[in-house]
């Protein structure tokens, strides 16, 4: 039996006018990367902040490392937290911020190593207000690592980062996972969740609408696989006369497949007809495709 480090049962949080989290339950095992996904306002940050002990819940039961974060004073020393809207004292430098954390948390970590890990070494003595958005974000991540925490709460750690920096943070998260850290990750980049998360939960309007491994979710909700062909109008005409359903998307033609094997049949058909096309790929729906549809369907249901 894997050890449960976070358990959430019927968690509910209402603000004066809305219910931000509406009776959700999930648990996270030690060493697992668990990702909360959902559109803006779904209730992800609220959930994470309740687990961090920053906000009080309205009802429900939560346990983080066996303790109630609302009451425990010592829990904070075992957690690493990167909030969504991370900010710091405007004229303190990353070096000073890290020194401060090291002092208060009585940690023995190597601060230079942490700075290098998040690629902030050359900005160690730049005041916070003079850092770029992405650099600020990296400082937030660096601070969450000072106490070598058992659990990390990373609320959108890669938003605002350039693609290379994002990949670097992914590597940091992978390294943390290898070290056996448990991580609760929220993100709007579905590929990030697909790549890093062992399990995901998709939230919408305060409720979890599905959860499981990314593969399981895609498996449960995917529609037809697609054959993507880069080709011109001639290819379209041929596909039309062959009786295939397709859609044009920019330079690509997307052909829906009942079964993956149909792909060979279509390609052979186009060869026979001497159609000119540059390349083709076979594409299953990604978590993002499935996500957009799941969340979109609910929106549509409600507007009916």
């Amino acid at each position: 039996m894997p050890e449960t480090v976070i358990s959430v049962t019927n968690l509910l949080k209402s603000y004066s006018d809305i219910t931000a989290v509406d009776g959700i339950s999930f648990s996270i095992n030690r060493g697992e990367v668990f990702s909360l996904l959902g559109p803006n306002g779904a209730g992800k940050t609220t959930t994470v902040e309740i687990l961090e002990g920053v906000r009080n819940r309205t009802s429900g039961d939560i346990r983080v490392l066996g303790e109630d974060p609302e009451k425990s004073r010592s829990l904070i020393f075992k957690l690493g937290i990167l909030p969504q809207d991370f900010s710091f004292i405007y004229n303190s430098t990353p070096k000073e911020a890290l020194d401060f954390y090291k002092g208060t948390l009585t940690a023995s970590s190597d601060l230079n190593e942490i700075l290098e890990m998040v690629e902030l070494g050359d900005k160690a003595t730049t005041p916070f207000q003079k850092l770029s958005g992405g650099q600020k974000q990296k400082l937030g991540l660096a601070l969450s690592l000072v106490n070598d925490p058992e659990i990390l709460f990373l609320d959108e750690p890669t938003s605002g980062l350039d693609p290379r920096a994002r990949r670097n943070i992914w590597n940091v998260i992978k390294t943390l996972k290898e070290k056996g850290k448990s991580i609760l990750l929220t993100t709007h980049y579905l590929e990030e969740a697909e790549l890093l998360a062992d399990r995901v939960a998709i939230m919408n309007k305060g409720k979890i609408i599905d959860s499981g491994t990314p593969m399981e979710i895609v498996e449960r909700h995917h529609e037809d696989d697609n054959l993507i062909i880069r080709g011109d109008g001639q290819v379209e005409n041929l596909l039309g006369s062959g009786g295939y359903q397709f859609q044009r998307e920019g330079p690509y033609i997307k052909v829906g497949l009942k079964s993956i094997r149909d792909a060979t049949e279509i390609i052979n058909y186009l060869y026979e007809k001497k159609a000119k096309f540059d390349d083709f790929t076979l594409k299953r729906e990604s978590l993002e495709d499935v996500f957009v549809r799941m969340v979109g369907e609910i929106e549509e249901d409600e507007t009916e």
Binding site: N56, S87, A97, F100, G103
Partner: protein, 366 residues
Amino acid sequence: MKPSRISAYFVLHAKSYMRSRSALFFQIAFPIILILLFGAIFSGSSYSPTTLIVQNESPSAASWGVISAINDSGLFKVQVISETQNLSDYITVHSVQAALLVPANFTTNLYNGGVGELVLKGHTNPTVASADYQTLNGVLTQIDFRTSNTSQKLVLSSQVALGNTGKTIDYYVPGLIGFTVLSTMFNMVYTVPNYRRERLFRQLSFSGLTKSEWITANMIFSFLMLVLSDVILVTIGIYAFGASLTLNAETIVVSAVIIFGGLFFFTSVGILAGLVSDNEETVSVVGNLVMFPMMFLSGVFFPLSFAPAYLVTISKFLPLTYFINSLISVLDYGNISSVSLQIVYLLIGSAILFAIAVKLFSWKQK
């Protein structure tokens, strides 16, 4: 409360503070500029006093005694003109701001146990004349010329008392110390709403730092900054402008206690003001609403004894007045016993207010 966390935050705060030009300006540079300014304007008055034209129509030991006492106060340089001149003409011809007339009945009235009336004759500018009037009035009160036995001896003994109260710079040193204590309020008035908006208290709490530790570190730092700026003020006051302050182990310790109480008081006011301001505009409105009346009416910028009665009444409701009065009493006169009860009240009041402010000041999100 853990000392290691307090010191970790102290270091972080001190470094950020030292990098903040506006904080340094208001804490250190501004009071220095003010004392240089006040010193230049007012300390001069004791070395090159306003010339006061005096005409004595009632020559006697009593009247000349009063006139020489006025001269010895250091606030006026008396220049006597002959009885035969027409004083009003003299004022006009020589463009004199104001001149003092000792009327013919002055001595007789005094010897009959009545009031010896002196007349200040003004020229055109009423405010200057009125300032002269206030100052002169203060001087005359000290001389106590209503005693029927106006011997030379009485006048001389008044001179000693005047030697201490006469110099305006003596008065401004405690006033400006009060000002530095008052400005600690602004650390909180701006920090609290700003840190709440930026959610920095939440971020600090992730480091394990608690609210009480944060406040303690802030107070220790503010106190050290106060000691620094006040030592500079006193040094400039004494060495640059010749302020005569009573400095000994006792008065220094008691002054430090008053400053410490003031720090608690105004930090609490700052926290409370910061809590009611939820955006930048209200911050400066609330801040100035608290700051300016106190600054001007508590005697930082001008001695209240010269102010109209209704302002004096208002000042009685402003806590800063009591801090400054206590400091004046201790630093200028070395008089601790007469204000010791007042100091105890101030400390108790500060402690209560501080407890309320800390209680209302929550780091948690709703």
